[in-house]
């Protein structure tokens, strides 16, 4: 086997990805306040999709429920950082067993970690679901999870302020803090990907039954990656709350889920690089579209309201048609030349098994 600088190979992809995020930071720092805001939110998105990809890229199972972890992180941060006297005014009807919540307070870094842990705790509680379910069932179960969390946050008014916004959160998220969390998340995601558990989970992504037959505890590894990804998504929620200073439960529902899915799918949902690149690219695209619609590129004549959404949907469709696994597919970002692995030279006398395109649907294309 050809040795290719093991250390360089190990860290190359995460270093490149962090570099890409740093580029976004520099754009944000160099630009005006609006640019800085967009860049910071883009980096928070990077943290979120990195978390999502820890689960979905390795297990191959799409999750529609991760926004719920972000919500848990955001609410936890709100509870821990809103000044105590304001909290007393905001939460007058807390049930007795939760009244201690009014008095707790923590610095933002502590709140950040606790938010991650709170999301991870919800991850632990829900992990039996993903440990047991695959494919569509899993997708629908995660969607149901999102609907449940949304319903509870929206209706448990005494504790969550229900459909009222959570307000008065001190602004603690800076672009550099977001960058630091993104870097740590990318490192964690990459580390998990290359861990024992990560490798076994990827094996189960390729063939569930063969993985079982190899003794791989698919459920256990799915649960582990689910919990880790919940933690990272909790961090994203915390950063989000700490940046916006107020948020509403509707920020953690289907439209956010759709926005993140667009990012992950455009980039390539089986690849960490795809998720990160997707998050940055879609954030930038959203901002370009917003300005386009406001008429900033067309000399002031605004486009019809709604154009941005239409273009976004069209872009997603086009990418899906041209590259169904997203821009990156299952590849990871790398600048080093490696030996080609695209296909073994066929030994004489042996047919290559990989099918030309998709056998099952060739007939459809003809029809």
């Amino acid at each position: 086997m050809k040795k290719l600088g093991p250390v360089t190979r190990t860290v190359e992809t995460p270093v490149l990805l962090v570099g890409l995020v740093l580029l976004a930071v520099l754009v944000g720092v160099g630009g005006d306040v609006t640019i800085a805001r967009v860049a910071t939110l883009a980096i928070v998105s990077v943290v979120f999709v990195t978390g999502l990809s820890i689960f979905s890229a390795n297990s191959g199972v799409m999750s529609f429920g991760h926004v719920a972890f972000m919500a848990v992180g955001a609410y936890t941060t709100a509870y821990l950082t809103i000044p105590v006297n304001l909290k007393a005014a905001l939460f007058t009807d807390l049930p007795g067993w939760l009244s201690w919540l009014v008095d707790v307070h923590a610095g933002f870094l502590v709140a950040l970690v606790v938010s991650g842990l709170a999301a991870a705790a919800v991850g632990v509680l829900t992990s039996p679901i993903v440990a047991r379910l695959s494919g569509l069932q899993s997708g629908i179960a995660t969607l149901a999870l999102l609907l449940i969390v949304y319903n509870v946050l929206n209706s448990w008014t005494d504790v969550t302020r229900g459909s009222s916004s959570m307000i008065g959160i001190p602004r603690n998220t800076t672009i550099w803090l977001a960058f630091a969390v993104a870097a740590v998340s990318i490192a964690a995601a990459w580390g998990y990907r290359r861990s024992r558990s990560g490798l076994q989970l990827q094996a189960s992504r390729e063939d569930y039954w063969a993985a079982q037959a190899s003794g791989i505890a698919v459920g256990r590894h799915r649960a582990l990656s689910w919990i880790l990804s919940a933690f990272v998504c909790g961090l994203a929620g915390s950063l989000y709350a700490g940046y916006l200073t107020s948020f509403n439960v509707n920020a953690f529902f289907l439209s956010a889920t759709f926005a993140f899915i667009v990012m992950v799918v455009l980039g390539g949902y089986l690849s960490l690089s795809g998720a990160v690149i997707g998050a940055l690219a879609v954030s930038a695209l959203q901002e370009v579209l917003r300005r386009l619609q406001d008429g900033q590129f067309t000399g002031g004549s605004a486009l019809p309201a709604g154009t941005a959404d239409l273009i976004l949907a069209a872009v997603l469709l086009l990418v899906l048609i041209m590259a169904p696994l997203g821009l990156m597919g299952v590849r990871e970002l790398s600048l080093l030349r490696r030996r080609p692995v695209s296909g073994e030279r066929p030994d004489s006398g042996v047919e290559v098994v990989s099918e030309p395109l998709d056998r099952a649907t060739q007939g459809v294309a003809r029809g």
């Binding site: 695209s342 296909g343 004489s348 042996v350 047919e351 990989s354 003809r366």
Partner: protein, 244 residues
């Protein structure tokens, strides 16, 4: 000539050649077998006839019409294909599977007669008419697949490894049916790994070597005189005679 393949090239992916310059033909009423080892490109060739894989060079014609023609339709030209995996619709009943075989036919009364004939040929299908096809055994499914293919009233019948994975007793039954069809005048291209049995029943055979090159062709006796073929197959035509 019912089927003619001229200098066909078929490529998998960007670089791998599955078939390189293969030529063969099947005349009306002939039973021609295509034998060769796993990976020799036999199934690929059959799929190319069905238009399921693209042709990168050469021509394939059925009744002098190119199969790569936009207007060419395997159904209109009555080419029946029994694929390697049999292509049984497991969630449909046996009867529904058979009904699909004649889905394009307009001659309803002739179709009914044909169906009756096939049910005579394969009594097990009548027995299990309203049973789910998934409950049939592999051999029964193969019979269903062949019967269904025959209901198209094929001009050309492509049988891809019809005995793969079947018990010897079922293999015998399938070969019996193939012989029977040949006697009825059906034009058949039979793809088989079982060289001995194929040579036995066929008018002519083509021996294919990877990547999809014809090593030799002709009757069993003719092939037995070709040293390359004998070496490749591992036995001589004389042995085929013994087996018979």
């Amino acid at each position: 000539m019912v089927l003619r393949i001229d200098d066909a090239y078929i490529q998998y992916g960007a670089s791998v050649m599955a078939v390189q310059g293969c030529s063969l033909h099947v005349a009306e009423g002939e039973l021609v077998s295509l034998i060769g080892q796993n990976g020799a490109g036999k199934s690929t060739l059959v799929k190319a006839v069905m238009g399921q894989v693209p042709l990168h060079g050469g021509t394939i014609t059925v009744d002098n019409r190119s199969v790569t023609d936009r207007t060419f339709s395997t159904v209109r030209n009555r080419i029946s294909h029994v694929p390697e995996d049999r292509g049984i619709f497991a969630s449909l009943t046996v009867g529904e599977n058979l009904r699909l075989g004649g889905i394009t036919r307009k001659d309803k009364s002739a179709l009914a007669a044909d169906l009756e004939r096939e049910l005579e040929r394969f009594p097990v299908l009548r027995k299990y008419w309203s049973r789910g096809a998934s409950l049939l055994s592999g051999g029964e499914q193969q019979q269903l697949a062949i019967a269904r293919a025959l209901l198209l009233k094929p001009r050309l019948l492509l049988l891809d490894e019809p005995t793969l994975g079947l018990a010897p007793i079922i293999v015998d039954l399938i070969f019996d049916v193939v012989v029977q069809l040949r006697q009825e005048g059906m034009t058949i291209l039979l793809v088989e790994q079982n060289a001995v049995r194929s040579l036995e029943v066929s008018d002519r055979s083509y021996v294919l070597q990877a990547p999809g090159k014809v090593l030799g062709s002709g009757s069993a006796a003719e092939l037995g005189k070709l040293p390359a073929v004998v070496e490749y197959l591992g036995f001589s035509a004389a042995e085929v005679g013994v087996a018979r």
